[in-house]
């Protein structure tokens, strides 16, 4: 009995920390509709800052709590600055831009923290006066845990009072419920949004600062907490602070007791609950359904043009040049080129679901990874050869997409995106924890092609044929009736039912197609590396895909290829530098702010401008 009660209290204590992060995220999302990946980074900075300030202030009870508050306030200011400099310019952009931009911030903050606090994990100070345990039912409970259990509800009450008893809070709630109406009523949005970011970031910083006596401070805190914070925000209802509290308590207890009952599936549990909530009640436990379904923001797109002779010639030239590459390039370049081909297919499949299908996926790595694992598992457990592995790859990914897609197409916008994220995390957690089958963190090794393909050049040719074939096939689908139906559904969903089309079925099928092609990429990838690890299924892999699509330009079909090329080469070159993440993050932010049509889109616009001018000059 005492043991279970102690476990219950531990659950509540972690729930408090989780609540602080998630409530900030939820408030920010509610008002600005931005899915802020950098929220975990703010939490991490809160922890590091509190550590530094504690050391700087005189030791003692006052010093500790003053440090916590100072750190939280500083993080609040940091959040406001990020909003002011960056996110303010993206409120009208598609979700992809916002998400990738906040991920750029993640990268920059990660390297800033590395530069300031170094790569070593830091053990924080204990809280003075709360550094021992009390016995409850004979079980030792850390005093600090009890303090956290009190702090969580106290903050909830304070935030609730601010939101419900002040004019500012009324404005925030109004904007959460109906942003357009709030704007129409003449509310100063600029100030409101910046202050909302301040509050949200303050709460994240507070959560991080309060964590230092419980958890070692490390550079992994940001992405570790963000996935769980998303879970809490979605379950509680995006924009609902009491919802975040309830959901944090549920997840805290689920983790505390899940360990006892199903030690093998603890990570999966939280994401499963998130997926179930999204399917049954997309607005979350305490969230309200949106009054206005906000029209998705689209980059203005011109009608598709079939390839003319010149373009066909250009494509043929590129393929011939790629085929000639092994004559001039060494093994190292061929490995890089193989990577580029693989990621071009991966990015093209993501562009297909997002650009053509209009469905934002935050978890496309799931299908890449399912393909890689599908092939690897066939080799490991069935002793299959490469052909069966390369067949299993798209099959596994397609089946995964068939299952998850059925649920995903029932949602739209950011809820759909969140469900794709949950699906990817479920697959990732399964691969991570199902040691016996997937090898867990150690991955699966020894997935090599047969002897006649072991040579780098030979394998490069296999990759070239498969990947070029896959991209051309995808392009063919985009130009076929199916692709037109998808675009029609994205642009005018109401019209589709009124011309007899079952849009949902087509979107489901599109999900499967995107999954199959990502799986093909995963299959080619695993045989080129010889191994697969859970990282291939994790959030950064999904985000890399998004960055490639963004680099290439979301509305161009050839964009993803250029995006994959740029990103892979950039990453390869930068990762030799010490602070490569910060540079990559800066490049991402640059593209989002300066060239939102991506490289291909930007060049196309430039070409249009030049032709226009030369035509005008010719007319003179």
């Amino acid at each position: 009995m005492g043991f279970y009660f102690a476990q219950f209290l531990t659950g509540l204590a972690s729930a408090s920390a989780l609540f602080l992060v998630a409530s900030g995220l939820s408030i920010i999302f509610g008002v600005t509709r931005i899915v802020n990946f950098a929220h975990g980074s703010l939490y991490m900075v809160g922890a590091y800052l509190a550590y530094s300030v504690v050391n700087w202030l005189p030791h003692g009870v006052f010093g500790f709590w003053a440090a916590v508050v100072i750190a939280a306030l500083a993080v609040g200011v940091l959040g406001a600055v990020v909003e002011f400099v960056l996110l303010r310019h993206l409120y009208r952009s598609p979700e992809l831009f916002q998400l990738v931009a906040t991920f750029g911030v993640v990268l920059v903050i990660q390297d800033a923290a590395l530069a300031i606090w170094g790569p070593e994990d830091i053990v924080g100070p204990r809280a003075p006066g709360l550094d021992s345990v009390v016995r409850i039912f004979g079980e030792p409970i850390p005093e600090y845990d009890l303090a956290l259990i009190v702090i969580g509800p106290t903050v909830l009450l304070a935030v609730w009072l601010v939101l419900n008893r002040t004019r500012w809070g009324t404005l925030v709630l109004a904007a959460t419920q109906d942003r357009e109406m709030a704007a129409a009523l003449g509310i100063n949005q600029t100030l409101l949004f910046t202050s909302v970011f301040f509050l949200g970031a303050f709460l994240a910083g507070l959560g991080g600062a309060l964590q230092i006596p419980r958890e070692t401070i490390s550079l992994l805190m940001d992405l570790n907490v963000i996935a769980e914070a998303f879970v809490v925000v979605v379950i509680g209802g995006m924009g609902s602070v009491p919802g975040a509290f309830l959901a944090a308590a549920i997840i805290g207890e689920l983790n505390a007791f899940g360990v006892l009952v199903f030690p093998q599936v603890t990570i999966v549990l939280a994401f499963l609950v998130m997926a179930v909530v999204l399917v049954l009640r997309p607005q979350g436990l305490l969230g309200r359904p949106e009054i206005h379904a906000h029209a998705p923001a689209h980059v203005r797109e011109a009608p598709l043009q079939p390839f003319g002779h010149r373009q066909r010639l250009a494509v043929a030239t590129v393929i011939v040049l790629l085929a000639a590459l092994p004559m001039v390039a060494g093994d190292f370049t061929l490995v890089l080129a193989t990577d580029i081909l693989v990621f071009a297919v991966f990015a093209a499949s993501l562009q297909f679901i997002m650009g053509t299908g209009g469905m934002v996926s935050f978890g496309h790595a799931a299908y890449f990874g399912l393909g890689a694992y599908g092939a690897a598992l066939v080799v490991k457990h069935l002793g299959g050869g490469m052909v069966s592995g390369l067949v299993a790859a798209p099959l596994a990914a397609g089946l995964g997409a068939l299952l998850f897609g059925w649920f995903c197409v029932r949602l739209s916008g950011v809820y759909l995106a969140m469900l794709t994220l949950a699906a990817a995390q479920i697959v990732w957690a399964t691969a991570f924890q199902w040691q016996e089958v997937t090898g867990g963190d150690d991955g699966i090794l020894g997935v090599w092609p047969p002897g006649w393909l072991a040579d780098r050049t030979a394998y490069y040719y296999l990759a070239l044929v498969v990947c070029c074939g896959a991209i051309l096939a995808l392009r063919r689908i985009v130009y076929a009736p199916f692709g037109y139906v998808l675009r029609g559904g994205r642009d005018a969903p109401l019209r589709m039912a009124a011309i007899g089309i079952d849009l949902r079925r087509h979107q489901w099928f599109a999900f499967v197609i995107a999954g199959v092609f990502a799986g093909i990429a995963g299959g080619i990838y695993v045989y080129s590396k010889g191994s697969v690890f859970p990282d291939e299924l994790a959030i950064p892999r999904s985000v890399n895909g998004l960055i490639m699509v963004l680099f290439g330009g979301i509305q161009t079909i050839l964009g993803p290829i250029v995006g994959a090329l740029t990103f892979t080469v950039l990453e390869d070159q930068l990762s030799r530098l010490e602070y490569w993440r910060a540079i990559l993050g800066a490049v991402i932010l640059f593209v989002v702010l300066i060239a939102p049509q991506g490289i291909v889109g930007g060049l196309a616009r430039l070409a249009d401008a030049v032709t226009d001018r030369s035509m005008r000059e010719a007319e003179r």
Binding site: P481, Y484, A497, I499, H506
Partner: protein, 256 residues
């Protein structure tokens, strides 16, 4: 037998009865206008007939088949076409492609993954565009069209599967007076040529009185009057609704 038979149709949003026990019928080849002040329930009625909304009560029969609970896409397959008050076309496609999309669905080719869509049913699409006078603009993006042209494109799309019944929700809204007259004449021609029945809502009384065979007047979700053009024109209750009087929405201008 009536093409469309609506009986006791009702729909509430929250406490508001948007449509309250509405019954009427449309005969083959008939042009029936539905008029009424804003909020009278015209669009809600349309959405229930074409399956965009599910009725709380009542039945809708099309050619004798009870379609009250059918999804929109099945109702379309049966031969009911419609246009929307706020146009619903794909801005990133050309005018012709928008029509081709409807034709692809009609010929059940919407899942084809291989043939280039723009090469399919081109002539058929151009014939439809020609009917509504849009063929010169076939290659333009729908996103850059003037509003009146979008309305005509919607009409071409709605005609793609040779429907027996056409629901037109304010087909001439946003058009200049001359354009209006032309489009209404066009619609009247199509009805005469192909024995289509048309149910349309309209705020422009010249269009209504000039072309409708019969008129149905809705007010606050209920049928206020139904009859020939002359009967409705002389109905005292209709006059009260439109010219202002007790117990109505208070003199909202007919083409507000």
């Amino acid at each position: 037998m009536s093409v469309l038979q609506v009986t006791g149709l009702a729909k509430s949003f929250g406490g508001l009865k948007a449509v309250d026990d509405v019954s009427f019928a449309v005969e083959p080849g008939e042009l029936l206008a539905v008029i009424g002040p804003n909020g009278a329930g015209k669009t809600t009625c349309f959405n229930m007939i074409s399956g965009q909304l599910r009725a709380d009560a009542g039945t809708v029969r099309f050619d004798g088949t009870d379609i009250s609970r059918w999804p929109a896409r099945k109702i379309w397959r049966l031969g009911v076409g419609r246009t929307f008050q706020i146009t619903a076309t794909a801005p990133s496609m050309t005018v012709r492609e928008n029509v081709q999309l409807a034709l692809l669905s009609h010929h059940r080719k919407s899942s084809n993954l291989w043939r280039p869509a723009t090469t399919m049913y081109q002539d058929e699409a151009d014939r439809l565009l020609d009917r509504v006078g849009m063929v010169e603009q076939a290659a333009r993006a729908a996103g850059v069209l003037a509003y009146g042209d979008l309305k005509r494109l919607e009409l071409a799309i709605a005609l793609a599967h040779a429907p027996k019944l056409l629901l037109l929700d304010e087909p001439t809204a946003g058009m200049a007076p001359g354009e209006r007259t032309n489009l209404m004449a066009l619609i009247a021609n199509i009805v005469a040529d192909e024995v289509i029945s048309v149910l349309f809502t309209e705020h422009d009384m010249d269009s209504v009185f000039g072309h409708a065979d019969r008129i149905l007047v809705l007010n606050r979700g209920q049928v206020l009057a139904e009859g020939s053009v002359d009967e409705v024109r002389n109905d005292a209750r209709v006059r009260a609704v439109y010219l202002g009087g007790g117990g109505t929405y208070g003199g909202s201008a007919p083409n507000a």
